[in-house]
Assembly symmetry: C2
DNA sequence: AAAATAACTTGATCCGGATCAAGAACTTCT
DNA sequence: AGAAGTTCTTGATCCGGATCAAGTTATTTT
């Protein structure tokens, strides 16, 4: 990440390895006092925030290597909750120490600014997804996001397990469970993928990218001729 | 913002007052080299990003006192565009200088982290809006957001001008122009507000808050008895 | 292994909001 | 001031995806 080995070492000295969490355990809850950022080292995590009328909004699914808790810096309290989707290990980075360290390590400070900014960028992409895209485009985007992130981590880009339920996927994408289920079936019928419960195999990644770009409407009207 | 007067002075020394922009002028465009954050001092600004299929997604409307450009830190390029909605004045804060300054001013660094984190928090609120809320709830949320922001700046919380078009409001809220127009009419019919083109007068702010919380469904079914 | 529960799928129906269409009000240009 | 182009409003229709309703397949409990 643009840090020297000795930078890394200093950073490493403040990192605490937390105990592992089991499926359903909370890493933190909305309202909890904020003290640490967390990096997921194995497993996966869902972040969500309760919305006024009792339900919840899933904010994200997080894989190993990803940092969570950035939203809590603003007022020393967690604004959302984080829950383990499977057995999950995390490292904790006490924020006050990270802040002090970044004061004397410009490269770390720079990296922190970039990280926070990237998070903002990712959120705005999600705004476009929820504001303008069809159900099909949403699920394709979702699947390719996982594909890319698994690939980046050295796993298969086309064969992976989703640790969250259909319900959680729907909530995240602003869709009903039934719609998500139907879309998986449809994508499978169209030979875009093979799905069996949580196990997904992407069979035609290029066409999934076409769908993301809405190329789909034009294309399907062609094939209907 | 938690800075001492002398901190402010040092910060002030790097701030550049830019020339004023007229309606329709771009402050920056997606892809432009990023060099400065900007604080709006008067007028208003729309930020938006082009989405793959030609259209655009409005990301936000920004009023005096607000900071824009935080999303661009991540890779030295602007990821979205910013355009003046009316005659607008801004201050530019060269980011590299701000970064250096924050290295030697822990309080400034702290403030920057909070600011970036707050932006993330705001984006996630917007995700809930777009993911789960009805058209009514969206417009009520939108109006109350402006009400609060104007109030905070010493202007009327119930009587203000919106500088953006119905089309832009719709785009921002994930709604069609026609829906926005109809909702304004409906809200007026229900004596929630008075609207005449861009001039809005909120007549029943408490009920607008009820609508935001979806209290509306229950209530309207009562009144139908 | 059977029973209970939870997660998922599939079908039928419904509805909120999009889209299409046209007119009205406002702005800008000449 | 008149013409032309915008922006906004209002009405009619349509459709994507929500909701309702069952049935099916996993998972957990006993």
């Amino acid at each position: 990440m643009g840090l020297t080995p000795e930078d890394i070492e200093r950073l490493d000295s403040i990192i605490k390895r937390g105990r592992p969490y089991h499926r359903g355990d909370h890493l933190y809850r909305g309202g909890d006092k904020f003290h640490s950022l967390r990096v997921i080292t194995s497993g996966s995590v869902k972040t969500y925030s309760p919305n006024e009328d009792g339900g919840e909004q899933v904010l994200g699914f997080h894989l190993p290597g990803e940092l969570i808790g950035l939203d809590a810096i603003q007022d020393d309290n967690h604004t959302c909750s984080a829950i383990a989707l499977e057995t999950t290990a995390v490292c904790e980075i006490p924020f006050s120490q990270l802040e002090s360290l970044s004061s004397i390590m410009p490269s770390l400070q720079h990296q922190m600014y970039r990280l926070l900014s990237r998070e903002i960028g990712q959120d705005t992409e999600m705004l476009t997804l929820l504001g303008k895209k069809s159900a099909e485009e949403r699920l394709a985007t979702f699947l390719l996001s996982f594909s890319e992130r698994f690939k980046q981590r050295g796993f298969s880009a086309s064969d992976f397990f989703l640790s969250m339920s259909r319900h959680e996927i729907g909530n995240y994408l602003g869709l009903a469970v039934e719609t998500v289920s139907r879309l998986f079936t449809r994508f499978q019928d169209e030979n875009l993928l093979h799905v069996e419960r949580k196990h997904v195999q992407l069979l035609d990644i290029p066409r999934l990218y076409d769908i993301v770009q809405g190329a789909d409407r034009a294309k399907s009207s062609q094939s209907r001729i």
